[in-house]
């Protein structure tokens, strides 16, 4: 199978940075708090007030980033809507649980339950945009977004679809944050804040003049196996337990990882990068966008816009980066889940 080229035509975010803009490249917001909620746009500018009232924050953010992407690309009905969300409408889940325990299983409102299923986001996007195409949701922790990208990639390679709206969406509430903090996942000393994620992007097999970059490779592996579509490796990277096919290591202008200041998370990134890409420039993004399950979506968003603008803000460099980027041609995104499952996505400048 000849590999089809795939382009990221548009990507928008609502996160702990200024929403729906690339202002973070010039004036990044920084926080001292350990839990930071999303900076919401004025939803009324995008959604009818009666619609907005019925929806939780996660849904509104997913919908608004989607509407902006559809508007920017003039694609009203993508061939597929593929969503990654680890914990879905957590707020509604927690509210329903609270009410169920407090009211001893009586007099429960269905509204929270209806919005609590993980596919609420993806199906709401389908309902709101009247898009009848392929629609699915991956809820696999920190790999949720990467698996959604992989799905779109596969179907594009198979020729089943040519456009796909792919998103990563997660919210956070105080009670669950406290639990995650106790378990050592977030809120640790020296760690980036725990944030909220809404990122929607349009993938297209057609190159368009507005495209941000090319989505060149994706590989997801567990332990010592790797999966990649490119069947003609001219260069194979290999360590004891990680392999990746890239045509030439110098084709990677920089490696962007999900380090977050928590040694339990960072060590495997640092080991991997030191072994596989010892002399490549190192970038990070979670100090800007925070940690949450689908934060990798914001890393991809940031990298895509840097490639489009041919500009890397200095604050994206990891403090232990061995050098700076001489010529920005590509960024390799590395994401990992509990030091067990790894994802590699290579973006190339157009």
């Amino acid at each position: 199978m000849t590999q089809k080229r795939i382009f990221i035509q548009a990507a928008e975010q609502i996160s702990i940075q200024q929403p729906l803009s690339q202002q973070w490249m010039d004036e990044p917001l920084s926080y001292d708090n350990r839990l930071v909620k999303a900076v919401n746009p004025a939803f009324r500018d995008y959604l009818p007030a009666n619609e907005a009232r019925r929806m939780g924050g996660l849904l509104k953010r997913a919908l608004v980033t989607t509407m902006k992407v559809l508007n920017d690309t003039a694609i009203d009905h993508p061939d597929a809507i593929i969503t990654g969300t680890s914990i879905g409408s957590l707020d509604c889940t927690e509210k329903f649980l609270d009410a169920m325990v407090e009211n001893e299983e009586e007099m429960l409102s269905p509204t929270w339950f209806m919005q609590s299923t993980h596919n609420t986001v993806g199906s709401t996007l389908g309902i709101y945009t009247k898009t009848h195409g392929y629609n699915t949701t991956y809820s696999h922790g920190a790999m949720s977004f990467d698996l959604a990208v992989l799905d779109a990639w596969m179907q594009m390679q198979l020729g089943k679809i040519s456009t796909a709206l792919v998103g990563g969406h997660d919210e956070m509430v105080e009670s669950y944050f406290t639990l995650l903090k106790k378990a050592g996942y977030v809120g640790q000393p020296g760690m980036v804040p725990c944030g909220e994620v809404a990122m929607s992007m349009m993938l297209n097999t057609q190159p368009t003049s507005d495209a941000l970059c090319e989505l060149s490779e994706i590989a997801i592996n567990q332990g010592d196996k790797y999966y990649s579509l490119s069947k003609t490796p001219t260069y194979k990277l290999q360590t004891s337990n990680l392999k990746l096919q890239i045509s030439n290591i110098t084709d990677i202008s920089a490696v962007m990882t999900g380090i977050n200041g928590n040694p339990a998370n960072d060590l495997s990134y640092q080991t991997l990068v030191a072994n596989l890409f010892p002399d490549r420039p190192r970038l990070h993004y979670k100090h800007l966008f925070g940690e949450n399950y689908t934060s990798s979506a914001l890393g991809l968003y940031a990298a895509a816009h840097c490639l489009k603008q041919n500009h890397l803000p200095s604050f994206l460099y990891d403090s232990d980066s061995p050098c700076l980027v001489q010529e920005l041609n590509s960024i390799l995104l590395v994401n990992q889940m509990e030091n067990q499952q790894f994802s590699f996505i290579l973006l190339k400048k157009l």
Binding site: N119, G133, H140, Y227, L229
Partner: protein, 402 residues
């Protein structure tokens, strides 16, 4: 499309642990929907389709030490996966080349809801355990952990069509050449969360559910798991494995109508079925049996009837909803019913739609005669199975004989 072979199948539900018990129940027409026994809920008057084993009994069957943190979903999933792997002959090192794609929605909510009131005071170890039971990915990990290292893990969560969509993701992986073998399916246990959720929507029947009956009054919740081992022809030949059937077509579409209701015309259902037929290269008249989504809710059965009539017109084959046996096993239903379809093909019978008495207005008339062997000489070769989820995540698959 290029053939996708199924070389292993495992199933656990209210009508049995394993294919043999399941087959007997299906042929005898004995439903597993009973009074609540294991779930600790105030709504114990609601009939449910429970797996007839306690967590402790399942741990014994799995020959593992007692572990209070293992969720019921994970235990049911492990039992089903054991059977699928055993039939396929895959184990140990061979699994490291096999992606495992599992479906769930509430995952380990059964554990979390039991401890929810004490959460605020819990220590770090318990916090770990509670998080690990809330997250869908952890449910998949808990199931996989018993068997060794898989190539990678993935969790699909599209409510009641989750397992069918896991099958679809696995099929795309095989067709892309990303793997030679995949394991796909879903697992879901009964939880207070789910029971109360569906109860708040007022779509739970206080009797055994009556799919496609005029007087149907909702669904019964069930639990269970099923997994399929699917592989390419090359892998089949290389391993010298024996297929039990094929996945010959699949379709996924969005109804794009409402969060909890299907459109009156069943738009998403029609698109999903038509796509599955197109991918399989089959005509509606080539299908000998439809395993309907058929939840027993007024809305689903009306919408699905309309969709079936649209797709099949004059060539509608026998249709039944096996949710009258198992209850609605939500995220696991797609793979559980896929195993039922494989059994129907292998043993040449059509499972009955139980509890049906009166035709509904404009509804389909389901197949109600439970019997081994078919009266007509029309062999069952191709079977279509539907699974529709909240929000209109509609999917259909076609299973075929060899």
């Amino acid at each position: 499309m290029e053939p996708i072979y199924i070389t292993g199948a495992g199933v656990v539900s209210a009508i049995g642990v394993g294919k043999a018990e399941t087959l007997t129940s299906l042929i005898e027409g004995s439903s597993g929907i009973r009074a609540m026994k294991y779930l600790q809920s105030r709504h114990c008057d609601l009939p449910v389709g429970e797996v007839q084993l306690s967590n402790e009994e399942m741990m014994e069957m799995l020959r593992m030490p007692y572990d209070p943190f293992l969720t019921r979903t994970a235990l049911i999933g492990r039992l089903a996966l054991c059977e699928a792997l055993e039939q396929s002959g895959l184990s140990g090192e061979a699994l490291s080349a096999v992606p495992f794609i599992s479906a769930t929605t509430v995952g380990g909510m059964d554990r979390r809801e039991l401890c929810y009131a004490q959460e605020k005071d819990c220590d770090c170890n318990h916090a770990h355990a509670l998080i690990a039971t809330h997250n869908c990915a952890d449910s998949t990990k808990m199931i996989a952990g018993y068997f060794g290292q898989f190539a990678f893990l993935s969790t699909v969560s599209t409510a009641c069509s989750s397992a069918t969509n896991a099958i679809i993701t696995g099929a795309n992986m095989l067709r892309c050449g990303m793997a030679d073998t995949v394991i796909v399916g879903g697992a879901e246990s009964l939880t207070m969360f789910h029971l109360n959720g569906f109860n708040s929507l007022m779509i739970l029947d206080h009797q055994q559910c009556r799919p496609f009956d005029r007087d149907r009054a909702g669904l019964n919740l069930g639990e269970g798991a099923a997994y399929l081992v699917m592989e390419t022809e090359a892998s089949l030949n290389k391993r010298d494995a024996t297929p039990i059937g094929r996945l010959s077509g699949y379709g996924n579409a969005c109804d794009a109508f409402h969060q909890t209701a299907s459109s009156p015309e069943g738009t998403g259902a029609v698109l999903a079925m038509q796509e599955a037929l197109a991918v399989a290269g089959l005509k509606p008249s080539d299908i000998q049996y439809v395993n309907a989504h058929g939840t027993g809710t007024p809305n689903n059965d009306e919408s699905e009837s309309y969709a079936l009539k649209t797709v099949f017109a004059d060539s509608l084959p026998p249709v039944s909803s096996t949710k009258s046996f198992t209850g609605h096993t939500t995220s696991a239903s797609g793979s559980i019913e896929a195993v039922f379809c494989l059994l129907a093909i292998q043993h040449q019978f059509i499972p009955a739609n139980l509890n049906w008495h009166t035709p509904m207005d404009n509804g389909i008339i389901p197949y109600t005669t439970a019997s081994a062997g078919l009266a007509s000489g029309n062999p069952i070769t191709h079977v279509l199975s539907n699974a529709f989820g909240f929000g209109g995540n509609d999917s259909s698959i076609i299973l075929s004989g060899n």
